[in-house]
Amino acid sequence: MRRKRALFLIAAAAAWLLLPCRAGAATDGYALLKQAVSADDHVSFSGTITSLMYGQSTTATVVRIEHRAPNQWRLWYVAPADAYGRLIVSNESVQYQYEPKTGKVFSNDWISPLVAAPDVARIRRNYSVLVADLATVAGRSARRLALVSNYTHTLAQRLWIDSETNLVLRREVYHADSTLAAKTEFDNIAFVKDLPPDLFKMSVPAGMTLVPGTDYGTSTPDLTAVTSRLTFKAVAPSELADGFAFEKGSVEQRGRVQSAEFVYSDGLRSISLFENPTGRFPDFDGPPPKPIEVGALAGKYQLLTGQTLLSWNATGLNFTMVGDITAKELARIASLIKT
């Protein structure tokens, strides 16, 4: 079934890319992509977004979203059931998460990376951007972009960009084997001049308690700064997947265990490599893991909430990789880590 879907998608993508482009096809796709990523700095809107994550089981979120340019957001979750009624208000620096079920308001500060600009130069090195004909999404005219890997020549993403505002109205993310990994789409959207500031006020209502949210550590692009904080000797991959390079790293203390995270990116996709000195597999929550060979070592992988997780042990360390790429591809990169 998965293979049939992959073949269908490859054929569909090829046909889609071969469609005759209109005059606008001369538009610089990279420039359009850059404008699309930062479009929400300039436009305010109100709408509903549905996101689908494909995997062993498909998961969906439905969110009512209000945005006041440049940096105010209000997200109200309609689905899935466990998030129903959750309200998130943020200013891209601090985020308040309202949980009506428990009467708690969580203050999260992990959202600042959202304002990071895309590395267009790296994307240009690794992906070709093709601009195709106009289409309609949520009742609006949209330009279509296809990002194709310069190495594998497979489709990585398709974007539908609002012709008027450059906002991304729809996005499809593909695995390296051309299977669909995720899809996000505006079901409806209305662009507005402004929205009432009160909608985005971060206050704690009577009867609710403000508490700090989970901390995810601070990352730095300085690799030496990361490794110098470690109490164990980390191992770096001698090679990476085509086009990937070290982007940033962080050190987390989880109870008594110190864990390092190294993030590698090709401008569009990211892989995290975690190392810790436990030398044992993580507890696999979610679907049961499957065995896979990592070079000569025995590893396990799992598809979890739209990400692939691969874990293996060597020389007293546990290595775990996470990314939106296939387990086979992760295992190939993992086998290049010489311990």
Partner: protein
């Protein structure tokens, strides 16, 4: 050690009920004192003879049983000090102390090796999502759902 001190403990020594230090002292004394050694040998011989005689189970005559019961009833109950002293005999204290040491060792081992909270696969995925929020591939509503769900779970787990 004097001969008297040795003879006072000779029975316990023969039954291997002395602690290691006391056992060693008696052993040393016996190796140099022929008189005490003879007494110890007599004790061993007597024990062996009795064992040989009663190697087969035999029922005690009713008169003997009645006599023993009579003696037990007539004997006064042991005092608190006697009870404590009996409880502190090496045969009881040594295994108890060993058991305490083993339990303490196990507790310490478990503290050292199990205090680390298990790293779960969803922890790694959340950490990855949190660190790659700025990626052009990141989905704002999905990522926020994943990360905020962890807070919600924590709150629900801690709710009374």
């Amino acid at each position: 050690m004097t001969c008297q001190e040795c003879r006072n403990q000779l029975l316990d020594y023969t039954r291997h009920e002395l602690d290691a230090a006391q056992d060693a002292l008696i052993f040393e004394h016996l190796s140099t004192c022929a008189d005490c050694r003879a007494r110890q040998q007599a004790e061993v011989d007597l024990t062996d003879a009795i064992r040989a005689q009663y190697a087969e189970d035999r029922e005690l005559p009713m008169a003997v049983i009645a006599g023993v019961r009579q003696a037990m009833r007539s004997r006064p109950a042991p005092t608190f000090v006697e009870t404590v002293r009996a409880a502190l005999r090496p045969a009881i204290v040594a295994p108890a102390a060993a058991a305490v040491l083993i339990i303490a060792g196990l507790v310490r081992f478990s503290q050292l090796h199990q205090a680390s909270p298990a790293l779960t696969s969803s922890y790694f995925v959340r950490q990855h999502v949190a660190q790659t929020l700025g990626s052009p591939s990141s989905d704002r509503s999905w990522s926020a759902y994943l990360l905020t769900s962890e807070n919600a779970k924590t709150a629900e787990a801690g709710a009374p």
